[in-house]
Symmetry: C2
Subunit: 377 residues, 2 copies
């Protein structure tokens, strides 16, 4: 059964695309980067700043939210948007990835994955049907099928087994999704590790099932960037042009640029906030470590040409001081600065694709990064 399409493709430039996804809580401009609000909040950043930075959509983690405060509780409180105060589009992952990476004693069967909570050790089961039920209770605009994500390196047999299981789980998720309200979306997830043929087979199977959009999972888990890009290249031609494509858990600004160049529309990653908490700033000049002593007496901002006040108005000396002193405000400012940089990069990519100048933009942006930071003063 073909699901209704909420994606509108506005322009292409080479393989790069720009478009818009219409959700019950608003429009998402693509290519889109979704900042991650793991447990119903962005770490160190209020929603106001996330909005002001230009983000249309944020991501919540089903695994964390189902453990605490619980999906039924959030549903009783009016759903994730009302609960958290983020009044815009949201996407929830299925919990599969976190079950693999965070929980203890997980066991995967055809029926479901069983695991122990990393918070209190409670034994829990997550089936494809429960993953959808939980996400429908949370009420995100876009929800994800349950998949099995294997760690790389893995044997081809293990990769194929998990990929086939994910396809079967995708079909069960689609059936469970039939109770969803109009306008909400379910995305399938292609797996296949680092094996191009398995990636292709996964994508074909997923498209055969038919989803609102298509994700590529199980990448950016430690493999070289070249492997990730060639897996994208293997997958994208198998995906329909009229549906959104989402590369999960990616990545660095360079990853985003190269993945958009290969036809990806959506991303999520904790990197802007996590690196911000560790004193790192993403800028036009590349990544800058504010802990470095060279910034201690530098009155200059990170990038005076930025339109984000934190980036253009606050001195490197002050940021350096906050990071060194372990002041929360350092992590807060750098997380915002990084979210704003990511959103600016996405906006610039959208504009370049619309103008047909994406390749020029890609070259110029890479040159800026390669030039590195401004000289110390």
């Amino acid at each position: 059964m073909s699901l209704p399409n909420h994606f509108e493709l506005l322009a292409t430039d080479g393989a790069a695309r720009t478009g818009r996804i219409t959700t019950p809580h608003g429009v998402v401009r693509t290519p889109a980067f979704m900042p991650v609000g793991t447990a119903g909040a962005m770490k160190g950043v209020h929603w106001r700043e996330v909005r002001e930075a230009g983000a249309d959509i944020v991501l919540g983690n089903t695994y964390h939210l189902m453990l605490r405060p619980g999906a039924e509780r959030i549903a009783a409180l009016g759903g994730l948007q009302k609960f958290t105060g983020w009044n815009g589009p949201m996407l929830t992952d299925s919990g599969g990835f976190q079950v693999m990476s965070l929980s203890d004693l997980r066991k995967v069967s055809e029926q479901a994955v069983t695991f122990r909570s990393h918070i209190d050790g409670t034994k829990l089961e997550l089936s494809p049907e429960r993953a959808i039920e939980v996400q429908l209770l949370l009420g995100a605009d876009i929800i994800m099928q349950l998949d099995e994500c294997v760690r790389l390196p893995a044997t081809r047999d293990d990769v194929e087994r998990a990929m086939r299981l994910s396809l079967r789980w995708g079909e069960r998720c689609k059936r469970a999704f039939e109770q969803a309200r109009e306008g909400y979306m379910l995305f399938g997830i292609a797996q296949g590790g680092d094996v191009p043929e398995l990636r292709k087979a996964s994508a074909r199977g997923m498209v055969e099932t038919g989803f609102h959009g298509y994700a590529i999972g199980g990448l950016a888990v430690g493999e070289p960037q070249a492997v990730m890009l060639s897996m994208i290249e293997a997958t994208v031609p198998e995906l329909p042009a009229d549906r959104p494509r989402y590369l999960m858990g990616v990545g660095t600004p360079e990853d985003l640029l190269e993945a958009v160049a290969r036809g990806i529309d959506m991303f999520d990653c904790v990197m802007p906030t996590r690196n911000g908490r560790h004193g790192m700033a993403f800028t036009r000049h590349g990544q800058i470590n504010l802990r470095n002593a060279r910034h201690a007496d530098d009155p200059r901002p990170l990038d005076e040409e930025s339109d984000w006040p934190g980036t253009s108005d606050i001195s490197r000396a002050y940021l350096h001081h906050l990071v060194r002193a372990g002041e929360t405000r350092g992590a807060m400012l750098l997380s915002e600065i990084n979210i704003a940089y990511y959103q600016r990069l996405m906006a610039d990519m959208r504009a370049a694709i619309a103008a047909g100048t994406f390749e020029d933009f890609r070259i110029a942006t890479r040159a800026d990064w390669a030039r590195g930071d401004i000289a110390p003063r």
Copy 2:
């Protein structure tokens, strides 16, 4: 030598007063509560929210700032306002209290206090002259004399010795302050422990020296509230009516109400942010512990009548979740909620004094607190 007066008394109501202090960076409405930005930043709160909450002035800690990033560095970067981005009035303490409470191996002589930094063990000396030099380098609008603050309980001899030393240090601070630019202010600090006669003698000696304003130090260090209030009652009559009076390091909302009723104009305390980080909210209903399970399913805000969005729009259930999950945003929201409550309390006190209804306000506010939180649902 009498120093120019930058305080204007607008109205009195009983012993309570409302007025305005004009500083080089703007006007401070009194009674005023100064949120504490220890090391050049408020913990978990941006300046924008501090401003929106209604704070006119914030406090910086000389001890922390002289150790890191250093007063000379901040001066070279344009002073504390430019460095931190707080574009309003600031007050810096003299460092004396933190030297007593945080540093190691301190030794007090007539000349100065020597101590080891709690950060890296460096041996440092802080004399009255250096305390003023450091604060002038920092560039705060109001700076404090160096004093010696003794821990209570202490013998009367110890209290008197420290009080007399503080008076002599006050005179040296005033001489050192002569190099300050027009419009900046120096406050003396009265000591005297829990001995009324020593408090009076300290206040008289301080007024004889002559400062822009007068502080009461060495209280709210563990003594019962009744002791603190009687020390205020012993001191205030010795202070000139036309100068601002500052009760250092105080306190709870009830402390503020009772101290304003006894003629105090200024306060500072880390309580709004520190308690916020520990899951506590100050509200019209008294102090509320968001960690308590009773809030887990409560869709109601802390106080729907509050004009602070975090207090009136965010559910107790969400705040409870953030606190339980250890999410930074919980500490951020509660710190803001508390700063906003403190500022609202000060604004209401100012209005009541101006209207001549302070005693009614005091009774009504205490009744609200005594009534406690709304019933669980």
